[in-house]
């Protein structure tokens, strides 16, 4: 006999219901109808792949505190069938007369669509949706297309936006969605996920300082104003960042030198760049040698964007990484490892270093005894 709280999900709605674990499913449904307004007879509850039967108890399905139950509104009054005990499927006579329940018809056709939420009531008055002038004529965050870079920076400095961004990137579904939407990321395979979820990438996406640097750099590289290069690193350019990011996470020290080596071999190619006024681009641009076509107008903008994304990431992230102690840098990963029962701090850190911050990679190293 104990009181547990269970999340009940139905479409966009989500309620938390307190229930005795010894209560019957019927009583559970009555409780849910109290908060949802859906009559118990019209509820179908699903938990862990099972359709819950009225006569069973909450306990018998091993529903525990904090778990979630899906509630599906059935169309017709199906009171007669709710007592069905034969199989796992609670029969309800083909609900031919009913329209789609709102929870099913609302954006559920292809699975996950995070953008659908933006129009949902749950964000009403809550989200700081960016003002329209932030987006360029093509709807993108392309500063050179007429979007207002200042307002973007302003938005990026807003802590609420930063935390939303962080939340978004830490949602595995969202990451899947991003990867799925972008062929370049798809091509990267599992690395894309690691990259998008890496703290450095998040930092890159949310640190106004870094965005500002990117913009400055874009200017100084003399990108044509109508070019495809976006100051806001779009997922496309991020695929280039993946490579650089990986090196930087694998070994922060070598990342800095690696980045330097990959440009024309100057001791610090970025120092000049950031100091340079936008007009001086050609002289200060250490990347010129990297591109076969120099800065021809017909130059592949996408390549440029991705190279640029990668380089800006390495510049910005590497120094930031060096300064942070491992417990801070790998905070979330260490917590996950701890949760899994790996308590040796030094080994965990060593494993995470080796795996470039990936928990899965670190687990492998720990399990194989490599560290």
């Amino acid at each position: 006999m104990s009181q547990i709280s269970v999340h009940v999900k139905s479409g966009q709605n989500n309620w938390t219901v307190e229930i005795e674990s010894a209560a019957t499913i019927r009583a559970f449904k009555e409780t849910i109808s109290g908060v949802s307004g859906v009559p118990a007879d019209n509820q179908r509850l699903i938990y862990s792949g099972k359709i819950l039967k009225d006569t069973e108890t909450v306990e018998s399905y091993k529903i525990q505190d904090g778990h979630s139950v899906h509630m599906v509104k059935s169309g017709g009054a199906s009171a007669a069938t709710t007592g069905s005990t034969t199989t796992g499927s609670a029969a309800s006579p083909a609900a031919t007369n009913s329209a789609a329940p709102s929870n099913i018809s609302a954006g559920q056709t292809g699975g996950f669509n995070p953008l659908a939420d933006l129009t949902g009531a749950r964000y009403a008055g809550l989200a700081n949706l960016p003002s329209a002038d932030m987006f360029g004529p093509d709807g993108g965050l392309n500063s050179s297309n007429g979007a207002n870079p200042e307002s973007m920076l302003q938005m990026l400095e807003n802590p609420i936006f930063q935390s939303q961004m962080n939340e978004m990137l830490s949602n595995p579904q969202m990451v899947d969605f991003l990867i799925q939407q972008n062929p370049q990321l798809q091509a990267l395979g599992p690395r894309a996920r690691d990259m998008l979820q890496s703290p450095f990438f998040r930092q890159m996406m949310t640190d106004p300082q870094m965005i500002r640097q990117s913009m400055q750099m874009a200017n100084s590289m003399g990108m044509s104003p109508d070019g495809a290069a976006s100051a806001f690193p779009a997922p496309g350019s991020a695929s280039g960042a993946g490579g650089a990011n990986e090196t930087s996470t694998n070994d922060a020290d070598s990342a800095a030198t690696g980045a330097a080596a990959s440009s024309t071999g100057q001791a610090n190619p970025f120092a000049g760049l950031f100091g340079a006024t936008p007009g001086n681009a050609a002289a200060a641009n250490p990347f010129a040698g990297l591109f076969p076509g120099g800065q021809q107008p017909q130059f592949n903008q996408e390549l440029l964007a991705s190279m640029f994304g990668g380089n800006s990431n390495a510049t910005g992230a590497a120094p930031a990484v060096d300064n942070r102690p491992p417990e801070e840098r790998y905070e979330s990963q260490l917590r996950q490892l701890n949760d899994m029962g790996f308590f040796d701090f030094d080994r965990n850190v060593a494993a995470l270093r080796r795996a470039g911050g990936s928990v899965q990679g670190a687990l492998d190293a720990l399990l194989n005894g490599d560290v």
Binding site: G49, H67, V69, G88, S89, Q108, Q360, D364
Partner: protein, 139 residues
């Protein structure tokens, strides 16, 4: 690239299923929560809208063998359903006819299978298929 061992993978999926982190349209969990081998699973698929499956809940059994996720799981419908990739007498999903199982990738999960089955129900050629009375089950 590192490989996640079977048990870690299944525990991850179990947690996702129990906490309802996945999409609304499908649900899955262990048939018997004391089963430490985590082999037998229950799943449900909410029939896609604008099809003959609308408003229906389909129950499936999923069996994750010892070599999951290197090998695809076995999937069997409990609720009767009329789909080309489902054996019409046993309810088993025929591996050769269902691309997700046929071209199985290690990164696929049970959720992938359920969602893909749901997509299968919603294809233009399948969504108008006459369906057996709801509530009937395969033997």
């Amino acid at each position: 690239m590192s490989k996640v061992p079977r048990s870690f993978r299944l525990l991850e999926e179990l947690e996702k299923g129990e906490k309802g982190l996945g999409p609304e349209s499908c649900s899955y969990g262990l048939s018997d929560s004391d089963d430490i081998t985590m082999t037998k699973w229950n799943g449900t698929i909410l029939g896609p809208p604008h099809s003959n499956h609308e408003n229906r809940i389909y129950s499936v059994l999923i069996e994750c063998g010892p070599s999951y996720p290197d090998e695809p799981p076995k999937v069997k419908f409990v609720s009767k359903i009329n789909l080309p990739c489902v054996n019409s007498t046993t309810g088993e999903v025929v591996k050769e006819k269902f691309h997700t199982l046929k071209e199985w990738k290690r990164s696929y999960t049970m959720e992938t299978v359920l969602l893909e089955l749901r997509k299968e129900m919603a294809t233009p050629s399948n969504k108008k298929l006459l369906q057996p009375q709801e509530g009937t089950t395969f033997e």
